[in-house]
């Protein structure tokens, strides 16, 4: 067994004239939680379906648990758990019945009641799947993915449509998978989710990976700095502030924002300015950018030379 759960080299996928995936390389280690991010249409689902063995790729090399998913075997499927998008379960069977049915397909399934417990559905064990809430149903999905005690779990947008409480619970569950030593390949729209759960993330845009690394590395790697915000005081003279602090402040709604690469110096000057003018800085906040801002920065055209032509060449 190698140390890598997933290896992808120069993966391409073409649908007619349209190239949905344009040369992806990535490696996922065993026991790693890997976040795969990107807007709709970036090629996320195409890529994950190639890795899951549902789609045949146009070209490139792919190995998942040492097997080429273009030729999936039963032994391979026995080691993999899936949470798919838009895949329902039989609404007329209960949670326990559904898990029992799927348990029968695997060579060494986990006990049904353990899984019911793991996904937090003990109270709903004998409720029909069709009568559960969306969040509870998604948990049954995850339970079905785990029933075969897989080494690798694909979670395609596992928390879409969850309320915040359900999302927190799902996060705890996914952290539980990591604790069990599972490799998790996760796609999500939610940057906070990736930042919270993933050891590493890849950000996909128009079929290419535009950023890859630990969430903290990505955040550190962005030149853009710390943001200082506070409520615009009255009276307020933007030009005077600019002259004082040096960095370019901007007004955004009720707030004033300062971007700086040296937060300490900027803050010092800002506070001195406020003292000098006897101003009180309401809602003063100093914040590092989060993954969401990195993501939005990568999705906007700035900072991505050479990619705009790729977009226009589509379709």
């Amino acid at each position: 067994m190698g140390a890598l759960a997933i290896e992808v080299h120069d993966l391409h996928m073409r649908y007619g004239a349209e190239e949905a995936v344009r040369g992806i390389d990535l490696e996922v280690g065993r026991g790693e939680v890997f976040g795969f991010l990107g807007p709709n249409g970036a090629g996320k689902t195409t890529t994950i379906e190639i890795l899951e063995g549902y789609r045949l790729r146009t070209s490139g090399r792919v190995s998942v648990l040492g097997v080429d998913p273009a030729a999936p075997t039963r032994e391979w499927r026995d080691r993999i758990g899936l949470v798919l998008q838009e895949c329902e379960l039989d609404p007329l069977l209960t949670v326990a019945e559904t898990l029992t049915l799927f348990a029968g397909f695997y060579s060494h399934p986990r006990p049904v009641d353990d899984v019911v417990q793991l996904v937090g559905l003990r109270d709903k064990r004998d409720a029909r799947v069709g009568r559960l809430s969306g969040g509870q149903r998604r948990r049954v999905d995850v339970g079905v993915a785990l029933i075969g005690d897989p080494e690798l779990v694909f979670l395609d947008e596992p928390t879409t449509g969850f309320d915040p409480a359900a999302r927190r619970e799902a996060w705890a569950m996914i952290e539980g998978l990591k604790a069990l030593g599972k490799t998790v390949f996760l796609t999500t729209h939610y940057m906070d989710e990736a930042q919270h759960l993933a050891d590493r993330v890849a950000i996909l845009r128009a079929g290419r990976i535009v950023a890859l690394g630990r969430p903290t590395e990505l955040i550190d790697g962005v030149e853009n700095e710390t943001m200082v915000t506070f409520r615009r005081p009255e009276p307020f003279d933007l030009a005077a502030l600019r002259a004082w602090v040096g960095d370019a402040p901007e007004v955004a709604g009720d707030d004033v924002r300062l971007r700086t690469t040296d937060a300490q110096a900027t803050l010092g000057r800002l506070l001195a300015w406020a003292d000098e003018h006897a101003l009180r800085l309401e809602r003063l906040e100093v914040r590092r950018p989060d993954l969401e801002e990195i993501f939005l920065g990568l999705m906007s055209d700035r900072g991505l030379p050479g990619d705009a032509d790729g977009d226009s060449g589509r379709g």
Binding site: Y54, E75, R77, D78, L84, C87, L89, G104, Y106, R128
Partner: protein
């Protein structure tokens, strides 16, 4: 290559899937009403409407037989088609379009175990329904069967249900949406019931309609069951002609289903 999953487990997998297919079907109120209650009601209706007095008769293969026997046997054939063809194709389309089949394909399950489980479910339900219809026929309408007739009914039911089930699987490949399946399955069964001597005794049908009916698989099933139940030929009612026709339809269904059956959603957006 390693063979980590023992083949002996396949039978257990089939049985487990059959069990849950049955559980799910019994909880599907629309399926129960349309596939079980409906043919029973039709049997009572037809036998009540078309038999003022107890011994209305009709000509059947040059014998005068009771219409009640014809309707009871015909309704058994119709019930088999509803369960094995209509209900099955609706269930399969629903499961495919909602992604249930795609999900199953992602497990180590062998595809044939799934198909086998659903065919077994259809055959078991068809049998239960035929028994219920014959019991009603016997108790309410005094339709009596000889031991030979019972054997013939059993053979036709098993064969007919299996054939209709393969056709149900085959037709699913050409039905894009659940809505379409909900129309195609029952509509096909109803049309065929009219031209196969189920809703209208075969002797009353104009020749060209009867000939058209004989092209389709409900006719040999209905004719076979009617021969058995009326006892016109004596014995089991099994004929080479009917059995061969049913087997041919079954083989055709099997080939198409094996080649064209889809596991991923086919509808809009797929």
């Amino acid at each position: 290559m390693p063979t980590g999953i023992p083949a002996v487990g396949d039978l257990r997998v089939v049985l487990r899937q059959t069990r849950y297919a049955i559980v799910s079907s019994t909880r599907d109120s629309r399926g129960v009403v349309f596939g079980i209650v409906f043919p029973v009601v039709l049997l009572v209706l037809f036998n009540s409407i078309f038999s003022s007095g107890d011994n209305l008769t009709v000509n059947f293969h040059h014998h005068e037989v009771r219409t009640r026997a014809i309707f009871t046997a015909g309704m058994a054939a119709y019930a088999i088609m509803l369960q094995s063809f209509s209900t099955l194709s609706i269930t399969m389309t629903t499961q495919r379009e909602s992604g249930q089949l795609k999900r199953l394909r992602g497990t180590p399950m062998r595809p044939w175990t799934f198909v086998a489980a659903h065919v077994i479910r259809a055959v078991l339900f068809a049998f239960a329904l035929v028994v219920a219809l014959l019991l009603i026929g016997r108790l309410v309408f005094d339709v009596r069967l000889t031991a030979g007739a019972l054997a013939g009914v059993a053979v036709y039911t098993a064969l007919g249900a299996a054939v209709m089930a393969t056709l149900g699987m085959a037709v699913t490949a050409f039905i894009p949406t659940v809505n379409a399946a909900s129309s195609v399955g029952p509509f096909t069964a109803a049309i065929l019931a009219f031209i196969s001597g189920v809703f209208i005794p075969p002797d009353i049908l104009p020749d060209w309609l009867a000939a058209l009916g004989r092209v389709f698989p409900l006719e040999p099933l209905a004719d076979g069951l009617q021969r058995a139940v009326t006892g016109v030929a004596g014995g089991t009612g099994l004929t080479v002609h009917n059995v061969t026709l049913l087997l041919a339809w079954g083989a055709a269904g099997l080939v198409v289903a094996a080649r064209r059956f889809q596991w991923v959603p086919q509808g809009v957006g797929a």
